[in-house]
């Protein structure tokens, strides 16, 4: 945002400010033109007045020496005052002064003080004598008392006929009073300066200045335009300056600043609105999503859904995430289950293979030992001894009987030796079997994989253990609040524990011959040793048990069922399984025929 404002600032500076500067230069130039025109208007006005007086029979007669009363009635100070003139002079033909009056700062002064109409003055012949009726001189002149605008007309008859009788000269000082009036009229801060006094940067003099406009000078405060006016001789004489304050540029800068300020304020407001909008529609939902993901990452509980109810893209994303999460949860559960079963299958196969391999030499060894015991049956040792003991036996065969006895004992000894080896083999393989079983025992100490489980999912699956063709109607009541509880447990283990307890309740109901069997499953929270636990309860209206049985029901081999119906291992196994999951199990009953309650305490799932 700051970069955007800086960019806009430079764009405005590059585009808007030059436009204002150009406008300001145009305005300054207009001021100069107005100042120049104002001076020219004064000159034109002066010329108009002199044209009223020059071609006039009365002054014609007067300058010809015939109308002497004209001077008394017209050539008086009030006439100059009324006409706004500072100087008036009447010349006879040939340039001889007939009458004149000069007013300077309210006082009458001799005309000679002007040092304008002296015989040696370069402009005198343009002013005091005119060769014909069309001859006239109008413009600005330099005098000893300051610059004046001047108009000199030939004196003619009123009908402009001649011959030229003389010259009428009228002039006005370009003094501060007149400048003040010009400033008021033009509203331009104009000043006058003699061109010879004008020096630019000390390097330019009068010789370098031509009539016309000079280069514009621009300072921080004002734009100054100048024009050099020529005197009646055509020489550069008077420099008119108009000084235009840089109000337009200042206004432009203020405009740019105001625009930037407005832009910054609008930008800030836009950012706030966008932030508020994004926080509500994007940031907060994404934060919720992120928090949820972190929660799942820490707890590993994929069963917890986000449930972000919104119709926008974030809501759709959250919905898809929940769906994906649920699918992953189900897949993980199935994988764990499958992995558990596959692990059990692999283990069982390996154990079967190894034990059967070990049993094979044992069986064959024992078979050979059995045969060894029968070797003696095939020998005729007793007969040979009898023959040797019989005095009537053939003496020639006695040696062979002895030889036979020796061979028989050798044979028995060999068989005995083989049997000893076979028994050693049997013992060795028995130890092998023992080692295999010891290995399996180690695995029983490996904790099964625990996960966060929603209780009702496991309970509903466990309740399927009740046979559909039950001879007694069983009402299974699964409390609604079960879906509010999550436990940290091994899924298959908990499933088997609950299945065992529900089956136990079912069988108890059958034994009680209750017409309306009822099994209810509920849950509640409790804290044991500062650990949050969930207590699952399986309640039945079966046989129940007496107080003295309470502590025996989980003992190995204990059963309340008929002999031969059971091994008495179910509840004992449940107790061990629950203990391995960090939980506890206990039973309660009001007595025989009062039904029973089995409670399973398991750690509550982390992260809800």
């Amino acid at each position: 945002m700051a970069a955007f404002i800086v960019g806009v600032f430079f764009i405005l500076r590059a585009v808007i400010t030059p436009a204002f500067e150009e406008l300001e230069l145009e305005a300054a130039h207009t001021d100069l033109i107005r100042a120049d025109q104002a001076i020219q208007t004064d000159i034109d006005n002066l010329m108009a007045v002199s044209l009223d007086w020059g071609p006039w029979d009365d002054i014609y007669e007067y300058v010809a020496g015939r109308n002497l009363g004209f001077q008394r009635s017209n050539l008086v100070r009030p006439t100059l005052t009324n006409l706004g003139l500072d100087m008036m002079a009447v010349y006879e033909l040939g340039g001889r002064l007939k009458w004149s009056q000069l007013l300077h700062e309210g006082e009458e002064r001799p005309l000679a003080d002007l040092r304008l109409l002296e015989a040696d003055s370069p402009a005198v012949h343009l002013l005091n004598a005119h060769a014909n009726a069309d001859s006239a001189t109008v413009g600005i002149v330099d005098t000893a008392l300051g610059p004046m605008i001047i108009s000199s007309q030939p004196i003619l008859r009123s009908d402009y006929s001649g011959p030229v009788a003389g010259a009428l000269v009228m002039a006005q000082f370009l003094d501060e009073a007149r400048l003040g009036r010009l400033r008021e009229r033009t509203e331009v801060d104009l000043t006058l300066m003699l061109a010879e006094d004008y020096v630019i940067e000390g390097e330019r003099g009068l010789s370098d200045i031509a009539v016309g406009e000079l280069p514009v000078r621009v300072s921080d405060e004002a734009v100054t335009n100048c024009v050099v006016l020529a005197d009646i001789l055509g020489n550069p004489y008077l420099l008119v300056s108009s000084k235009t304050p840089r109000e337009i540029t200042s206004l432009g800068q203020q405009t740019v600043s105001a625009a930037l300020l407005f832009l910054a304020a609008a930008g800030a407001l836009l950012v706030i609105i966008l932030w508020w909008f994004m926080k509500g529609t994007i940031i907060r939902p994404i934060e919720t999503l992120t928090d949820h993901m972190n929660k799942i990452r820490k707890s590993g509980d994929l069963s917890d859904n986000l449930n972000l109810n919104s119709d926008d893209e974030i809501g759709l994303l959250a919905g898809q995430y929940d769906k994906l999460n649920s699918e992953v949860h189900e897949t993980r559960a199935a994988l764990l289950h499958q992995s558990f079963k596959a692990g059990k299958a692999d283990t069982a196969a390996e154990v079967l293979h190894n034990i059967r391999n070990a049993l094979t030499p044992m069986i064959n060894g024992l078979e050979r030992v059995g045969k060894a015991f029968k070797v003696g049956d095939g020998l005729h040792v007793k007969e040979a001894v009898e023959q040797l003991s019989d005095p009537e036996s053939d003496p020639e065969k006695a040696g062979k009987y002895v030889q036979y006895l020796g061979a028989s004992f050798d044979r028995l000894e060999a068989v005995h030796s083989e049997a000893r080896d076979d028994l050693n083999t049997v013992a060795s393989q028995a130890r092998q079997v023992e080692a295999i079983l010891a290995d399996q025992e180690k695995f029983t100490n490996v904790a099964p994989i625990s996960e966060n489980l929603v209780v009702d999912e496991v309970v509903e699956e466990a309740a399927l253990v009740i046979p559909k063709d039950s001879p007694t109607e069983i009402d299974v009541d699964v409390a609604d609040e079960l879906n509010n509880y999550r436990v940290r447990a091994h899924r298959v283990g908990l499933l088997q524990v609950l299945s065992n307890l529900i089956l136990n309740a079912y069988e108890s109901i059958l034994r009680a011959e209750t017409k309306e069997g009822r099994i209810s499953l509920s849950a509640s929270e409790t804290v044991i040793d500062d650990t949050e636990m969930v207590q699952l309860t399986v309640r039945d209206n079966g046989t129940g048990f007496e107080e003295d049985v309470r502590n025996k029901v989980f003992q190995r081999g204990f059963t309340s069922k008929d002999e031969g119906d059971t091994t008495g291992l179910g509840l004992h196994w449940c107790a061990n399984a629950v203990a391995s999951m960090g939980g506890r199990i206990f039973a309660d009953s009001q007595g025989e025929g009062q039904g029973a309650e089995f409670h399973v305490l398991l750690p509550a799932a982390q992260g809800g």
Binding site: L352, H353, Y404
Partner: protein, 164 residues
């Protein structure tokens, strides 16, 4: 063991990775062999007590044993090349770290279409139908689960050879 060929003996090749089992095989299939001392004892008994030698009808085996499938294939190929192929090959299914008994049976079947192949295993992941498909024909394929009596197996082996 069994390096001397006797055309009347049943030639048996056994492969099992368990040395105790191999020894049990050897003991069982050598049971019917008579040592010189035993023959002398029998001759004396016949002379002194007028008994007859009841061992004449017992089958006799030439047994070659190994612990890996690759060795069994080499031995079967060598015996076939020498013109004395085995009558029966007894294979364990699991024989780590080498190839398993099923693969060994397939290869030996390619070498000798007539040999009787016996699978003996403590546990097999391979169903019997697949064994019959991979090591045909079914009539020359036999399957036993451990544990079993090898002396009885020896009798069965003798029966297989006599019947075919």
């Amino acid at each position: 063991m069994g390096s001397q060929y006797n055309d009347e003996n049943i030639r048996v090749l056994i492969a099992d990775d368990d040395e105790y089992i191999l020894q049990a095989y050897r003991d069982a299939f050598a049971d019917t062999e008579s040592t010189q001392a035993m023959r002398a004892l029998d001759e004396l008994a016949a002379e002194l007590f007028d008994t007859t030698d009841s061992d004449d009808d017992e089958p006799h085996f030439d047994v070659v044993a190994c612990s890996q499938g690759d060795d069994a294939i080499s031995l079967a190929e060598k015996a076939a090349n020498e013109g004395h192929p085995f009558d029966v090959v007894i294979l364990d299914v699991r024989m780590p770290p080498g190839i398993d008994g099923v693969e060994t049976g397939c290869r030996i079947r390619e070498l000798d279409p007539d040999v009787e192949i016996v699978f003996v295993t403590g546990f097999s992941d391979v169903p019997l139908e697949e064994l019959q498909r991979r090591v045909p024909p079914p009539l020359k394929l036999h399957y036993f689960n451990k544990p079993l009596s090898f002396s009885r197996l020896a009798q069965d082996v003798a029966s297989m050879v006599r019947e075919h």
